[in-house]
């Protein structure tokens, strides 16, 4: 399930909604923009004072007026000081306000992603989800701090410069605008091309990195086949392609910037020719023309930056939209309002005509009716795709059924408060995920208040004290990214211990299928026995021995619960699905 909205709102709608969701941002923003405008006005101090000094000071009627000159300069220095202070204040506020409110936005979005159902979470790649709370928020903050402010100051500067230019000479100001309007189109056009060139660069970086990683990850293959020459040719080609794409992009970017430069001079030429005639026929003063030449600089530069920033603004708006889309997605498996707590004591489960279909997909569970007694150990078996994993997800309310209901104890699952549900019902997924931290950190994930001694006790109760003793740093051993420092079997051990300290009343366990060496295999099955004792356990079984030692076996086939009973009874039913599975197992054991 995608998190993106079906319809795309306009940029202003997005901005408005974004601001509404971050009130801190909105409150501070108006004043910050005001300070930015003051800063922009400050840039006019020099040209205006130059004009005043020349026209009314130097060429004043009745000779140079020195006190006036000093007065103007002193005033200018004062205004400059003020606007510099405004600039200082604006920058400070900008960073504090944007960073604070965006950190909150990050937190909210992060939490919201965790609150979404598994279906939503799995509808997006991990990287894409991460981007919503990282790069997407970063584009907003970068834009607000640089591009956005520049856009504001540039627009203010363009506006003020235009007004002042019109005051000095409307003819000249008009001429400047006439020359300039087509240029903005040109710059926009060039930038579209530039963006395309940078897209190519990003692609070729990807290709280059994948070539490098092949040479690194496949080092053994490269060596043993003696294909170093071939590999380095491929690498060189990827490196060279990347370089060529970069060079192309820099050429386009140089031309795009250069266009601004050429226009710069073009505008000067126009100002000089026209200005000279205007001065000659007395409509303009020398000081005004001088000021105009300064103003042109103040005008051109922001027009160029503003055009660039418009592109950045587009990125920021779409980043904001991606964040808002997440927050707009309603969690479809939600914590019930006025939810109830589960009654104390062992938990039984009842499925009442439960059906499930993935959104837009066919039904994968067809009317399941079953009762699991408190304290029993139930194995769920079936081929891949038979519906047994879906059964487990519905049992733990990672998903809700499309129809029918799941009742826990005597309470419908959808009425149970999440806090109560997650405390009493725990699921251990097949690839029990471990975090990049110490062993203790990973165990405490299930119960933050547990002491080191209690963790040791838990390990020894599961017969794993020798395993933990053999670790280099005991509980402080770093497990690495996704537990990479442990073997697959050891990772399963740790997630079992984690489930054990969570001490649920109903444990749902998806047995791992991946290969484990025999020694760990033995530890695992011993630990599993200990973990399941004294609670209701439902195991998605991949090993026949698990089914054999269970109180009851549920056999799934093609979305239906086809058999249900004790192992030995089920084996007797010749020609049944379970008998088939069992027969295949016996055959495997005897082979060789």
């Amino acid at each position: 399930m995608s998190l993106d909205a079906k319809t795309e709102p306009g940029p202003f709608e997005t901005l408005g909604r974004g601001l509404k969701l971050s009130p801190e941002l909105r409150r501070g923003l108006a004043f910050t923009i005001f300070l930015a405008a003051v800063t922009a006005v400050g840039r006019l101090v020099v040209p205006i004072s130059a004009q005043q000094v020349l026209d009314n000071g130097l060429f004043a009627d009745g000779g140079p007026d020195l006190p006036y000159v000093f007065g103007v300069t002193a005033l200018a220095v004062g205004v400059l000081g003020l606007t510099t202070a405004a600039n200082f204040w604006m920058n400070r506020r900008l960073f504090i306000v944007t960073e604070t409110s965006l950190a909150n936005l990050r937190r909210r979005t992060f939490r919201h992603i965790h609150d979404l159902s598994m279906l939503h979470q799995q509808g997006e790649r991990r990287g894409a989800l991460t981007a919503r709370v990282t790069t997407d928020v970063d584009t907003i903050s970068q834009f607000l701090q640089q591009g956005g402010m520049m856009l504001v100051t540039s627009s203010a500067q363009i506006l003020v410069a235009t007004v002042v230019m019109f005051v000095y000479s409307w003819q000249l100001a008009l001429a400047v605008w006439v020359v300039f309007v087509p240029v903005t189109w040109l710059i926009k056009w060039l930038q579209t091309h530039l963006a395309a060139a940078y897209t190519n660069v990003r692609r070729s970086v990807g290709r280059m990195l994948s070539a490098v990683s092949e040479a690194v990850v496949g080092a053994g293959v490269v060596r043993s086949y003696g294909i170093g020459g071939r590999t380095s040719r491929r690498l060189d080609a990827a490196i060279e392609d990347h370089r060529r794409d970069q060079a192309k992009a820099i050429r386009r970017s140089a031309f795009s910037f250069g266009a601004g430069e050429i226009v710069h001079f073009g505008v000067y030429a126009v100002v000089i020719v026209l200005g000279a005639y205007l001065v000659a026929n007395g409509t303009m003063t020398v000081g005004q023309l001088t000021a105009f030449l300064f103003l042109v600089v103040l005008f051109i530069q922001p027009v160029v930056t503003a055009t660039e920033m418009l592109n950045e603004a587009q990125n920021a708006v779409s980043g904001w939209r991606r964040v808002l889309d997440v927050l707009d997605t309603e969690p479809d498996v939600a914590d019930p309002v006025d939810g109830v707590d589960l009654p104390d004591g062992p938990l039984g489960v009842r499925f009442e005509d439960v059906r499930f279909a993935y959104p837009g997909g066919e039904e994968v569970l067809h009317g399941i009716d079953v009762e699991i007694r408190p304290h029993s150990k139930v194995a769920v078996v079936g081929e891949t795709g038979s519906g047994k994993t879906t059964f487990a997800k519905l049992l733990t309310r990672l998903m809700d059924p499309t129809s029918g209901r799941v009742v826990l104890g005597e309470t419908p699952l959808t009425d149970v408060r999440f806090a109560s549900l997650r405390g009493r019902v725990t699921m251990v997924p097949q690839e029990g995920f471990l975090f990049n931290g110490t062993l203790a950190f990973n165990i405490r994930f299930a119960r933050p208040d547990i002491s080191a001694a209690e963790i040791y006790v838990a390990f020894s109760e599961l017969g794993l004290s020798d395993w933990i003793d053999a670790l280099p740093d005991g509980l402080d051993t770093q497990l690495g990214e996704s537990g990479a420092n442990l073997s697959v079997g050891e990772r399963q051990l740790v997630s079992l211990v984690r489930a054990y300290v969570a001490d649920p009343d109903l444990l749902v366990l998806d047995e791992a299928t991946s290969a484990v060496d025999p020694a760990t295999e033995l530890r695992l099955s011993a630990a599993l026995d200990a973990v399941t004792r004294g609670r209701t356990t439902v195991i998605i079984a991949h090993r026949l021995s698990t089914a054999e030692t269970s109180d009851e076996v549920l056999v799934f086939d093609d979305g239906n619960l086809v058999q249900h009973g004790r192992h030995d009874e089920l084996v007797e039913a010749g020609g049944s699905v379970y008998a088939g599975l069992h027969g295949s197992w016996i055959e495997q054991t005897r082979s060789g």
């Binding site: 920058n91 370089r243 055959e587």
Partner: protein
């Protein structure tokens, strides 16, 4: 392929900023790095610097034009009430000419510095990846993939980063010198104002850059941390949900996000302090210059044109000075990047190959003669191992995890050299063999199949000569892969995607097996190479291998009883030593540890098959 085993011996992590910032030699090292890079591509660099100097000269001359226009065009026009067409034409001509020069010099600067940087990057990437290919597999095992990837990418970028603003900065230095000269020729008093302003601006920029670099770096690191925290948390979303730990996870994330926020606010505070000063100072300078200039004009020391020129120059000098700050700011990270590149470039341990060629036909004879292997760290992996695989025979290596099986497989194809004894092929020490000959004679099919992001055909042939489609199909058939490849939409031309993502684990294994068989090796090493293949299919493949026409000697690392039973002889390893040898049946009867291990594997293996489709 052999990754993840030697994780304990990573190089000590470098902690760049903490020691680099205090290290006063950072400037010296940074400049030396820049010098090296200029020497790699001197031509582009000179183009860029020339462009930068011409460009800044043009930048400055605008000031003269403006001054000239005011005094020679505007004032006469004002006084005479008419325009001297000649002067206007001259002014415009000059402006347009300069405009063209300015455009081309700016392109020269930007394109020149860009291409220089990209060429130097490509140069280093080539050298670094060459080293990757030359360094032995044991070196690769000691370095995490992520580090090696960033050595070739992020570190190269960091090392070359000062190259982008460097020509601009050189142009700026040139401009400062020229404009100082101009100021002094115009008037000593204005020159003094400039003399006071430049050092202040330069210092301000340098201080700003050096204070900003560590903060920006810290923010960058935190950004990476926020990203990896989020990625990890979403990766484990199911566990978070299953255990109801959303609130704790959010708190954990909020802490890192809060650190990032504080770091960014720190960046902001610094910027707030410096930006306005850097922007305001030249404007203040312009006003002062205007004032001083006016006084001098009154005194008759300068004319009106010079007055305007001087004040205009002040207003355009501020921005280019920043370029010097950029270069200085990039130095610390560039030094760290360069150090990491040098670590790869100066790594040693290359394997040298001999020049002996094995021209014999038919299965090869592999001999381990008192072979010992000691890890670089000191641990002993293999002790006194001697055995022979006679031509055409199949020998199985069996042992518990860590008993040294994979090390033996690596030694047999010379991915590693023994620290004692010798491995011989047809009586010749592997170290005397020519690389091409060794590669053609032996083929190792590793535990974890490695597939290139390329077509099936390219993955099989690896551009080795003489492998036509007929030969490839034969190999695919022998590896039990002809059916699924035949079913692919584009057959041999199907692209398999990065790491072969479009294929299943078992398909990848069979593809790499076919790759090995395609070259008709005389010695085949299977390092648990068919673990993801259905046991029945595996037996069929291995039986087929024994009866094939161009048969090879086979050394197979195996777990499955059925696989082991196919071997003529079993070599049982415990703790890096051979503790038993014989046929499977013999060992089952007389060596208890062997029997225990083999049946335990079998038990585990069979149970895993339980939920799969019942075998047809």
């Amino acid at each position: 392929m052999p990754h993840g085993k030697g994780g304990a011996e990573h190089p000590p992590p470098e902690n760049p900023m903490t020691d680099a910032a205090v290290d006063s030699s950072i400037l010296r090292q940074g400049l030396r790095n820049i010098g090296d890079m200029i020497r790699i591509e001197p031509k582009r660099f000179s183009v860029a610097v020339t462009g930068a100097m011409v460009n800044t000269a043009m930048h400055l001359s605008v000031a003269f034009i403006v001054g000239w226009v005011v005094s020679r065009v505007a004032v006469p026009a004002y006084e005479d009430g008419r325009v001297t067409v000649g002067s206007v034409a001259l002014g415009i001509g000059a402006l347009l000419g300069m405009s063209a020069l300015r455009f081309s010099s700016m392109c020269a600067r930007r394109i020149g510095s860009g291409t220089q940087m990209f060429r130097v990057q490509a140069h280093w990437r080539r050298r670094v990846t060459r080293r990757y290919l030359a360094l032995p597999v044991s070196w690769h095992q000691k370095h995490p993939t992520g580090t090696l990837l960033s050595n070739a990418n992020a570190d190269v970028e960091a090392a070359t980063r000062p190259l982008a603003p460097l020509p601009f900065a050189c142009g700026t230095l040139f401009m400062i010198l020229v404009s100082m000269g101009v100021f002094f020729t115009i008037d000593w008093a204005v020159a003094l104002v400039a003399l006071a302003m430049f050092p202040i601006l330069l210092t301000l920029n340098a201080v700003f850059a050096s204070k900003m670099a560590p903060r920006a770096k810290r923010a960058q690191e935190l950004r990476a941390e926020v990203s990896s925290d989020a990625h990890e948390s979403f990766d484990g979303a199911l566990v978070v949900k299953a255990m109801g730990r959303e609130t704790e996870e959010t708190e954990r994330f909020t802490r890192t996000a809060g650190e990032l926020r504080d770091a960014m606010i720190g960046v902001g505070r610094l910027r707030a302090a410096f930006e306005p000063a850097i922007q305001g100072l030249p404007e203040l300078g312009t006003l002062i210059a205007l004032l001083v200039g006016l006084a001098r004009y009154q005194a008759g020391a300068i004319d009106l044109g010079q007055l305007v020129t001087v004040s205009f120059m002040f207003s355009i000098l501020a921005f280019p000075i920043r370029a010097i700050g950029w270069v200085l700011g990039d130095l610390p990270t560039s030094v760290v990047g360069r150090r990491r590149i040098d670590h790869v470039l100066t790594s040693t341990g290359d394997m040298s190959y001999g020049d002996r060629d094995l021209r014999a036909a038919g299965p090869a004879r592999l001999e381990f003669d008192s072979v010992a292997y000691r890890y670089p760290g000191g641990g002993e992996a293999i002790r006194e191992v001697s055995f022979t695989v006679e031509p055409g025979r199949t020998v199985a290596l069996v042992g518990a995890t860590g008993s040294g099986k994979s090390t033996l497989a690596h030694l047999a194809v010379r991915l590693t050299d023994p620290t004692g004894g010798a491995v011989r092929l047809d009586g010749t020490d592997l170290r005397e063999l020519d690389h091409a000959s060794l590669a053609a004679t032996t083929a190792l099919v590793p535990q974890i199949p490695f597939v290139f992001d390329d077509s099936v055909r390219a993955n099989l042939s690896l551009d080795r000569p003489g492998l036509d489609d007929t030969r490839l199909w034969e190999a695919l058939a022998a590896a039990g892969a002809d059916k699924f490849v035949g079913d692919l939409e584009h057959g041999l031309d199907t692209e398999v995607g990065e790491r072969g993502t479009t294929l299943s684990g078992g398909q990848r294994q069979r593809l790499t097996l076919a790759r090995a068989l395609a070259g008709s090796p005389r010695l085949l090493l299977l390092d648990d190479a068919t673990s993801a293949v259905d046991p029945k299919v595996e037996s069929r493949i291995l039986a087929g291998l024994k009866n094939s026409s161009d048969s090879a000697s086979v050394l197979v690392v195996a777990y499955r009883r059925a696989t082991i039973a196919l071997a003529d002889e079993v070599v049982f390893l415990e703790g890096g030593r051979i503790t038993a040898r014989g046929t499977h049946r013999e060992l089952l009867e007389r060596h208890r540890p062997y029997a225990d291990l083999v049946t335990a594997y079998e038990q585990a293996e069979a149970e895993r098959e339980f939920d799969e489709e019942p075998a047809a």
